[in-house]
Amino acid sequence: MDAPANKISVQGLKAWFGKNEVIHGASLDIPDRSVLAIIGPSGCGKSTFLRCLNRMHELTPGAGSSGKMLLDDRDLYAASVDPVELRRRVGMVFQRPNPFPTMSIARNVSAGLRLNRVPGDHAEVVERCLRQAALWDEVKDRLDAPATGLSGGQQQRLCIARALAVEPEVLLMDEPASALDPIATAKVEDLIHELKQRYTIVIVTHNMQQAARVSDRTAFFYLGELVESGPTEKIFTNPSEQRTEDYVTGKFG
């Protein structure tokens, strides 16, 4: 295979909730160890697109999808693929921080390992992932304290650490900073820069500056249609589509 290989390749993806089709055929490629930003107005299908990538979409009753989605050139939706296994390779961080309230900080990070009975030194994993998520220094003295005692920004970085602990190859982030203050947001953005060395990242964001700052490529969705995708610089300075230009310059949305 020729480098740089595509980590993910999406071809003609359609997705629906019951009779309501919300993604009308989207195709794009995501190179390995790059950051793809997905932008677009609310309700245009960004979250749905993301949730198709780790097969969380199909868990909603009546929801389904068609088209091809390849991870390392293998079909995500092939009969031989176990969605549970797949979700260990494709991690997800949600819009609202959702740490497990019954678990301590450390046990939140190791939750994926413990619940899946992965053997090994979990304490070491906890420290490494908390360091990766830039949270270690703030919590190293209270690893056994409840996770719910952390601030919103800390909780979100904890959720990132929790996602990293199962060693995914791809990290999906659905507006990970929308509930955070500017300082916490900056920390999460720095983190994305770091994580890009090792992971392929897809991030949904409402914030144009954020998309421009953190991503290598950007995809613009509008009303369930993938209008345009390409290098971030091109999307923001010289888009091919009028609708993209209108959106990134703030004329609508």
Partner: protein, 281 residues
């Protein structure tokens, strides 16, 4: 300025009115506690907790067998009712959106509203009549039937209170759905479920009507499920309706014991509801 003064006056009036309402609500409770404690405490002794009842006119004696009988029958009932109630509640929360779920939910609602004496008659017809004898088993069945519906409903509510985002977080970590249900969703709802279970046990311990013609009573210790069995509540009833004044005193003391037992269970339930939720997983 005068508007402010007026507002302060209105505020003071309603604060006082609410305080008075609270006092009014607490009055019956306080007088109940006072009456039971003041009239019951004199008869309490170690013997009262451990001895068999004494015949009329004889001093001493206790309600040891009644305490044991209550614990025995409530324990038997819990053995079946707690798993059944919690299981039904979890089912309703997780899979209860279809027709069958609605039917089950409707049934539990109706059952929860059935007066306990009616449940007693049912247990009488089901067990006492065919077995031709009153028994601890019949009492326990009546108590179990009473415990299941409210426990199922509160379990369902506690499970539904667990945010869907926690389930998603776990699934997104590649944890299978069944394990997510057990280790994340149920685990998060556990303090609530335990509280509901303890309250169901406490409620069962305080029931009289369903035991009157199922377990009846017994002057002696009994550990056999097919024999009549004493209980605190029926013993209180018998003491209270008797014409002897020393038995009336015993009714008060036994009532105090029952109050302590139920109070302890409620306290434990509260501590569970408050204390958990933190550290362990």
């Amino acid at each position: 300025m005068s508007a402010l003064r007026r507002r302060n006056a209105v505020n003071a009036f309603w604060t006082a009115a609410c305080g008075a309402a609270v006092l009014l609500a607490l009055l019956p409770l306080a007088s109940l506690l006072w009456l039971v404690i003041s009239r019951g405490v004199g008869g309490l002794s170690l013997d009262f907790f451990t001895h068999l009842p004494a015949p009329v006119g004889e001093a001493g004696g206790g309600v040891g067998n009644a305490i044991a009988g209550t614990l025995y029958m409530v324990g038997l009932a819990s053995l079946v009712a707690l798993p059944a109630g919690v299981g039904a509640g979890v089912y309703l929360a997780e899979r209860g959106d279809g027709r069958f779920g609605s039917a089950v939910r409707f049934t539990t609602e109706v059952l929860a509203g059935v007066p306990s004496i009616v449940v007693g008659i049912v247990a009488y017809g089901l067990l006492v009549v065919p077995m031709k004898r009153f028994s601890a088993l019949a009492g326990a069945v009546a108590l179990a039937i009473l415990m299941v519906p409210p426990l199922a409903r509160s379990t369902e509510e506690f499970v539904r209170l667990v945010p869907g985002t926690l389930r998603e977080a776990s699934l997104a970590l590649g944890v299978p759905a069944w394990k997510t249900g057990l280790r994340v969703v149920l685990r998060t709802a556990l303090p609530g479920i335990l509280t509901a279970a303890l309250l169901a046990v406490a409620r069962a311990a305080g029931e009289t009507a369903p035991l009157l013609f199922t377990a009846l009573n017994n002057q002696y210790w009994n550990a056999r499920p097919d024999q009549p069995t004493a209980s605190l509540t029926v013993q209180i009833f018998n003491y209270a309706v008797s014409p002897y004044s020393d038995w009336h005193d015993k009714a008060w003391s036994a009532a105090l014991v029952l109050l302590l037992l139920v109070g302890l269970l409620n306290l434990a339930a509260r501590l569970l509801a408050r204390g958990r939720g933190g550290r362990t997983a």
